[in-house]
């Protein structure tokens, strides 16, 4: 290859060193990424294995059906806390999901591109970032102080407050993925706007919407802080949500801090139960999404 006068033929040398260097950087980055993955997975496996091993020893039939035993007494269970968590989560879902879906519909269909829509969008993002303990304190001030006592309803409200922005965000995002052409086709047939949304857009986005709801449920069912100030806890079966209501997460908090060995064991058992519950919901969402694809 003819080179212009005055230039040294450094081309190959430069390329060779840069190739060695590139390979070195490549290997280093690969190794660093691998180590990071191992740390992540390792910690997860550690947490899960400890929860499984120590939790499994606490599980028995009576663990699911009985009330907590007094310190030191054998037997007993956390049936009341499991039922309470189910009731509070169901209440939160009932309150938070419709509100969240409506807000998401507004964001995706009616408010898109408007000033107010942009404002709502911003508020939803802000709400998603609110620490859960703040949600608990907010409902405490609103529903516990005014009523004069803790209640499961207040707990459900606090969790619904956390669910709403998550559901609104996923609903809006999933509906935005539905092509406008589908909306136009339905409108062009003479369908009113609400029918287009309910019958066409919801249907087209249904897997995504369901996933958003399930993830929101999974997220709040493991929350402790919002329940500390609202549902509190109770050693009795929940008869209604009108008074302090037993629940798993606050029970874990209390029992794990207690000096009694049998309560500590119960906390491990409760941890396993709630971990399995959340894991099941996550797997369910993955299954739904995969079936759609």
């Amino acid at each position: 290859m003819a080179l212009p006068a005055g230039t040294k033929d450094r081309g190959w040398a430069v390329k060779c060193t840069s190739r060695t260097r590139r390979k070195l950087i490549d290997r280093t980055m690969k190794a660093a990424a691998g180590v990071a993955v191992l740390i992540g997975i390792g910690v997860l496996a550690w947490v899960l294995s400890v929860v499984f091993v120590r939790g499994a020893s606490a599980l028995s039939w009576s663990f699911f059906t009985k009330l907590p035993a007094p310190p030191g007494a054998p037997g007993g269970g956390l049936g009341n806390a499991m039922l309470g968590t189910l009731l509070i989560s169901a209440g939160a879902t009932l309150l938070g999901v419709p509100a969240g879906i409506m807000a998401g519909v507004y964001l995706a269909e009616y408010g898109a591109g408007t000033r107010f829509g942009g404002f709502v969008n911003f508020m939803v993002n802000v709400m998603m970032g609110i620490p859960s303990i703040i949600a608990g304190l907010f409902i405490y001030a609103l529903l516990v102080v005014s009523v004069g006592h803790f209640s499961g309803y207040a707990g459900a409200m606090a969790l619904a407050f956390l669910m709403m922005p998550v559901v609104a965000r996923t609903t809006a995002d999933m509906m935005a993925l539905v092509p406008d052409q589908l909306r136009e086709s339905a409108l062009a047939l003479g369908a009113p706007r609400w029918r287009v949304i309910v019958q066409i857009v919801f249907r087209a986005a249904r897997a995504g919407l369901l996933t958003g709801v399930l993830l929101a449920v999974a997220r709040v069912s493991g929350e402790t802080a919002p329940l500390l100030f609202t549902a509190l806890n109770s050693p009795y079966w929940p008869r209604s949500l009108a008074g302090p209501t037993a629940n798993l997460t606050v029970t874990i908090f209390n029992d794990a801090m207690s000096p009694y060995a049998n309560w500590q064991r119960a906390a491990w058992g409760a941890s396993l139960v709630i971990t399995l519950g959340v894991l099941t919901i996550s797997l369910l969402t993955r299954f739904i999404l995969r079936r759609r694809a």
């Binding site: 092509p179 589908l182 086709s185 409108l187 062009a188 047939l189 003479g190 019958q199």
Partner: protein
């Protein structure tokens, strides 16, 4: 072409439901202007479209062809900031008037889009969607009307055995004919087609063109196309659009063989566009 056409075994032309006798589906556009926000894209469009005929709208990309027909069923109103002035008469009634029932208007004026968009439901439910919107029919009649519409769209033989399969599982050309069947089911007087074959393979295109020929016996077809051969093959009249204005309108054969305007001649001879 003849072999392809011969394979279009479909229903006889009269298989579909007939439009009401009083309506011929004639359209008269007067001084239509259209704006995206403050940006004007259609200028003083005036166009006569006779009933039960095929009118092709041709012109280079971005000249306002699609925008023009999207005013006929007022679908543009879905978007903020789009507005128009002028008048469009359908069988003597100004459809841009504020008292017009949009739902009934869109039953009378169907629309087919560039890319087929079957609803996420079965073939049957796709076609039944409009019927369920506008009428309360007993099941047996619903079934009959869906069959009629599918035959009218020359799709029945291909989907008879998979009526309850998802509409999205059909081929591109079949999906487009499914959309046509869906639009035909509610017995429109006018069918607007916005480049209906641009996403369809040649065989599917031939079937749709064949179909358009039969459809004009019972309704008015307005078809936007960037394909001049297609316009020449299937239309009775042609309107040539350029930069938002209607440059020339006339009988298709006359417009293609003896255009009166220089711009039309330049476009159809392929000098631009």
């Amino acid at each position: 072409m003849s072999t392809i056409r011969a394979s279009v075994h479909g229903a006889p032309a009269s298989a579909g439901p007939m439009p009401k006798a009083a309506h011929t589906g004639a359209i008269s556009v007067r001084h239509l202007n259209f704006y995206y926000g403050s940006h004007q894209v259609l200028f003083d469009n005036t166009l006569e479209i006779p009933g039960r005929s095929v009118t092709a709208i041709i012109g280079p990309s971005g000249c306002g062809k699609s925008t023009h027909i999207r005013v006929y069923n007022r679908i543009y109103e879905m978007y903020r900031g789009q507005r128009c002035t002028g008048e469009i008469f359908l069988d003597g009634e100004n459809i841009l008037g504020s008292s017009v029932d949009l739902i009934e208007l869109r039953r009378r004026i169907g629309m087919i889009f560039q890319a087929p968009a079957p609803f996420p439901m079965s073939v049957f439910d796709n076609v039944a969607y409009g019927l369920r919107l506008h009428y309360q029919l007993p099941r047996s009649e619903l079934v009959d009307r869906v069959e009629d519409a599918l035959k009218g769209a020359a799709l029945w033989d291909e989907v008879e055995a998979k009526l309850h399969h998802p509409g999205t599982a059909l081929s591109g050309g079949q999906q487009q004919r499914l959309c046509i069947a869906r639009a035909l089911a509610v017995e429109p007087e006018v069918l607007l087609m916005d480049e209906p074959t641009s996403a369809v393979d040649p065989v599917g295109t031939a079937k749709i063109e064949e179909l358009v020929q039969r459809l004009k016996e019972r309704l008015t077809v307005v078809i936007v196309t960037h394909n001049m051969q297609q316009a020449a093959r299937i239309s009775d009249r042609t309107a040539f659009f350029f930069e938002g204005r209607i440059v020339e309108t006339g009988e298709t054969t006359a417009l293609f063989t003896n255009p009166s305007k220089k711009q039309t001649e330049a476009y159809i001879t392929g000098r631009f566009g």
